[in-house]
Symmetry: C2
Subunit: 334 residues, 2 copies
């Protein structure tokens, strides 16, 4: 299969993109095509003595800026590394697109070119979050704001398929984020979504509270994209704060200060579990093709992992399985 | 001044309530009146050799259960420890009510008996959250769901007065939780609230993202109660997960395992900063009286701290200052 990597999108592009591709290229038997300015990419590629034979470059003269308006970027930069990569998937010439570029522009291009799966009102970004019991998928984390109850139901179903296929969990427990475990607790959106989920998802475990997420109470965690996005970033911030506080607290206990090197090794283990570079990209579920959105600050390892994940995602026919599961789902009443 | 303590509300009532009152009684010169079953409370009080003279008991025959429906509790249990305590504040006979009981019932009673400050559409619960730079106040964390933009503007103004009076921050920086720092990022609610805040709050620093909260970017953090509640509980869960992971990671590093006792002392320091028992209760801002809602699992220390905080709150005339600041605020257009 052919994986399209946006070579110019991201804070560390193209260096991390080229290195990530080189790393993944020696592991995967897929073809990795890197889009972007030919000369720049070739110069970067020359730094590696042994470039795997499954890596190639596809010229794209423009670059979409990280803060550019997504809609104008889509209209005006058809020859950008991002749009060229998306187009290859949209026209069926490639299996997946992976980009650490402007995420709004990736979503716009995916929606308009690759298009939504029939019946899906809104695609969703699904990220892996570390829990005490392993990992959970939270969706949506930013593709949508002001979601409707039906959107949340579809997020749940797409998340279920993704967790079953890619994480190999047989019967994923689906939870809805709310402010109380009782059925009637929540806001207008979640109370209505609760009823839909109860009706159509047999593994729906009900409302879960914020505290239940890291404790691993559910495998698929459903929420509106505004909440999901704030939660994800808040979690990063809380972890950062705690690690800094631990460090400065230990300074006040001279003997404990000696233990810091050992503690650091432990914290590295934990960071690894929570690290976006380990997790790689997050799929945009609900479009008719495979589209992985990576963190803007992705390093080579993150790009490598995203390529591997995209390959697994495609090999498991995840998009087709979502398409299949959505047909007639919820009595087709949406 | 007279502080009313609900002696029967909370997971550890009345033992923690009595002990907390005894602890606070020896520090404060205020009168502490504990409501609840006279015999039970007196028996509990007898356990203490030296009961401060400023502590007294007010009989209340009923108890509101932790999971009881707030509205029926309000209608049917006028003689409960909770309702009797609230009534004392509502009738001007006491300065503040403090309860670790059914928080829905406390809010209902406060709204219906103590009543809202004129011009305040919806009161809000304000909690202190530890940050790298000290502390921030987040509101609302659960009094309201499906807030309107005008509610968020009023939360900001009430939070500003509270932080100025009780935390002594001269010009508190006000931030609005959203999914991007740019002015136009957010959902329907926050985009409209952004414009109101920009117009009426001179220390409004704009949108802040989830990560900025623990990093201490703002002193007053404004959001809808659904989001605030989920965030607060999620933060608890993330901290819990990280502490557990650190512990089990250290087990894999035998030398590091030896450092655990020292590390534990450090973690205790941090927990102390984040601990609800240190913070005590959270005020319900926007009612015509002082009402502190404590965590259901409050121990004696939490109750003690809530009583001290309520006393400071009243001494600073915080309620009156909110009343004053809201008059004509935002051109009185709400």
């Amino acid at each position: 299969m052919k994986l399209m990597l946006d070579g110019m999108g991201g804070d560390h592009a193209p260096a991390s993109q080229i290195e990530g591709a080189a790393l993944a290229g020696s592991i995967l038997d897929d073809e990795i095509v890197i889009t972007g300015d030919e000369k720049t990419l070739e110069a970067e590629l020359k730094k590696y003595k042994k470039v795997p034979p499954n890596i190639s470059i596809m010229h794209a003269s423009e670059v979409v800026g990280m803060n550019e308006d997504p809609t104008s970027a889509y209209r005006q930069k058809k020859n950008s590394s991002l749009m060229v990569a998306v187009k290859m998937v949209a026209t069926g010439k490639a299996a997946a697109v992976i980009s650490a570029g402007n995420s709004g522009a990736i979503m716009t291009a995916a929606l308009l070119d690759i298009k939504r799966i029939e019946g899906i009102a809104r695609p969703a970004i699904a990220v892996l979050f570390p829990t005490l019991k392993g990992r959970a998928v939270i969706l949506d984390v930013g593709a949508n704001v002001d979601s409707k109850p039906i959107n949340l139901l579809q997020f749940a179903e797409m998340g279920r398929v993704y967790v079953q296929e890619v994480l190999g969990v047989e019967s994923p427990r689906i939870g809805l984020i709310s402010i109380g475990e009782e059925d009637n607790k929540g806001n207008e959106l979640t109370i209505e979504a609760f009823n839909l989920l109860k009706k159509y998802e047999k593994n729906f475990i009900g409302n879960i509270e914020g505290r239940d997420i890291p404790l691993g109470k559910a495998d698929v965690i459903v929420c509106d994209g505004f909440l999901g996005n704030v939660l994800l970033k808040f979690g990063e911030g809380v972890a950062e704060m705690l690690f800094k506080l631990i460090k400065s607290s230990l300074k006040n206990h001279p003997v404990a200060w000696l233990s810091l090197p050992f503690l650091w090794t432990a914290i590295k283990d934990i960071r690894k579990r929570a690290d976006y570079s380990e997790v790689g990209g997050a799929p945009l579920l609900g479009v008719k093709g495979s589209c992985f959105i990576c963190h803007g600050r992705s390093d080579a390892k993150a790009i490598k992992n995203a390529l591997i994940k995209a390959s697994t995602y495609v090999k498991h026919n995840t998009t087709e399985k979502i398409e299949e599961s959505i047909k007639g789902f919820g009595n087709g009443k949406y």
